[in-house]
Symmetry: none
Subunit: 194 residues, 4 copies
DNA sequence: CATGAATGAGAGTTCATTCAT
DNA sequence: GATGAATGAACTCTCATTCAT
């Protein structure tokens, strides 16, 4: 595949991503993508065989970007609680974003495609996040900012709450206050009261 | 619609439910239901106009049954922690059930149909569960079984964790151990250690 | 068929007529009629086999009423030109009536059902109208009101103009002025100028 | 749409036209056209969305051809009465043609689609024909062939008679004699008797 | 007579996918 | 590589018509 083709492939993925954000996963047809990309019907098939492959690719790229983002935050000389607050704030923004959001599409995709554990980017991302959180909590405990006798459990708990909020956001709906309350509850469970 | 029709309507709903459990929401066509029910193409349309209406009806019935189930447990002379353990065990069973599970279909349905807050059965169920849990926790606190200075927050936290587990179960997958760990973490956060 | 049945049959015909006036002939289904009549699906079939039979019956009744109307005007002691003016005014009203009009349905019915000449109520009505007009013109000629050396031809011509106006009314559309101009042209062709 | 497609589009229109001539407008389905054209079900939808659009297109083309035909007759060095006779003869042929006739389909189409005055090809054609006739009559009057003190009224009258004959042809039926009588009546009303 | 549930044929429409150019 | 016309499977939905009650 030449230089040019790689760019086109990239273009298709980016365009398709906006469609998946708008319409979810199952509602998107090859036709939708062809039209949005302004390419020929057959042309798309030179790059991808179906919407599943396209979305899988998008997810993979997405995952890499998220990694960068997540890891980028740490290493600055900030306290553990400051970093945690930052991370949660990031999550809050994500949760409340109505558009530009692949959550629904991602859920739909995984409902349909039971991926093997080790290939499941979602799982990998989840586990990584747990690790990051765990490290952070441990750090906080050492500096005396946090109180926690089960950092891994706590990290996992936080992640499931975030997952629950994400699911709720797209089904029963959530308000900013809902998120704030929940994140506050998490922080209060950790922070050492004086 | 006569006596007989009501039975048939019921039969359609039950049959459709098994299909929704198998295939989710979006994958189910009127044709699927027609074939599963062994009725004529037009026959189904006498009872329902589309799969959305059918699923909405199933959800409503489902919701009623769940209510009964949930409220049935309380009122026995058991301690708060026993009741809580029972409830969580119930949830665990639900979470681990691969088939006979409307979770995916329900998610898909609500992704597609943004229901007004007060008509959203899922939300109503959620809020009710929070209330039940809150009451239970308060009771436990009074009897000295639990320690908790924010029962409502704690109840909500538990519910979001459960929601997160449900979402995870259908996307990244969960094992029995995952669930046990999580439920244990919740219980330990409440129970007064001696 | 009992007394009661005859009434019901009558009721069906009247109700169906309003539907045919609204929707034309081809757009009307047995279902439409069943629903408008508020009777059972099978019930309608006890009286009529299809919309064709129903419309044919309506046409027949209609034809009888029109006859009465047409013949009712003559016999009063009025001059030929007064009577002609009256008849044309009647036609004008008919032509301009948007609703309560079987014209479209009637056309559609005859497009589909090539009726034998002698059974064609439309033709019978047409021929009768020509006769009436012819007699009227002859009378007018005798009294010196009209000038015409071919009363039958003139009568036929008038009828075709009226038919043309009717067709135009339902296709290219006509205004009141269009009709007035046309009827005026007809009258002026007959009336002896002083 | 490439060169090739234009030909296919043309082919579809021509094929569809024969079907409309056979079956009228409302009786024709997309399936009918697909089968007559020997193309695939989906293929037709690449060119047209529904029978209405197809018929509208046919009408438009038809209209253009008719224009050419109509205007082609004039300009030869023939007398006004010769030209008029020719035109009426043309109309007669049209009226008596049983097959190869879009009259019924056209009526049905306009019954269903009330077109805005200025977009109504039928009306435009009608008005143009009136103009042509009017000019012809005026010419005849000048050369002394015709007697007429209201050429426009006369032209319109002729057109409505022709319209009436067309409607009659497809409902009550007409014979060649009927048409001859009517056309003769028109000519005699114009021609100066010696 | 009357009901209305049930059937099944058939129309409309959309897309994934292929393939000649 | 790229195009876009073409195909055909699949689904939705509506009715005329029948028939057991």
């Amino acid at each position: 595949m030449g230089e040019k083709s790689i760019q086109k492939r990239q273009f298709i993925l980016e365009t398709a991503k906006t469609i998946f954000m708008e319409k979810g996963y199952k509602n998107v047809t090859m036709k939708d993508i062809v039209e949005a990309c302004n390419i020929s019907r057959g042309g798309l098939y030179l790059y991808f065989d179906n919407t599943r492959d396209i979305f899988a690719e998008i997810l993979k790229l997405e995952s890499q970007e998220t990694d960068d983002l997540f890891s980028g935050k740490i290493g600055e000389n900030a306290t553990a609680s400051e970093i945690l607050a930052l991370l949660l704030k990031e999550q809050k923004k994500e949760l409340l974003r109505k558009k530009n959001n692949l959550a629904v599409a991602t859920y739909e995709y995984f409902f349909e495609n039971k991926t093997a554990k080790k290939d499941n980017v979602l799982r990998i991302r989840f586990d990584e996040a747990v690790s990051v959180l765990e490290a952070l909590i441990e750090e906080g405990v050492e500096t005396g900012e946090f109180y926690c006798d089960n950092p891994k459990g706590c990290a996992r708990n936080i992640m499931y709450v975030l997952e629950g909020l994400k699911a709720a956001a797209n089904t029963i709906g959530i308000t900013e206050k809902t998120v704030d309350d929940e994140l506050m509850y998490i922080m209060q469970g950790l922070i050492v009261e004086e």
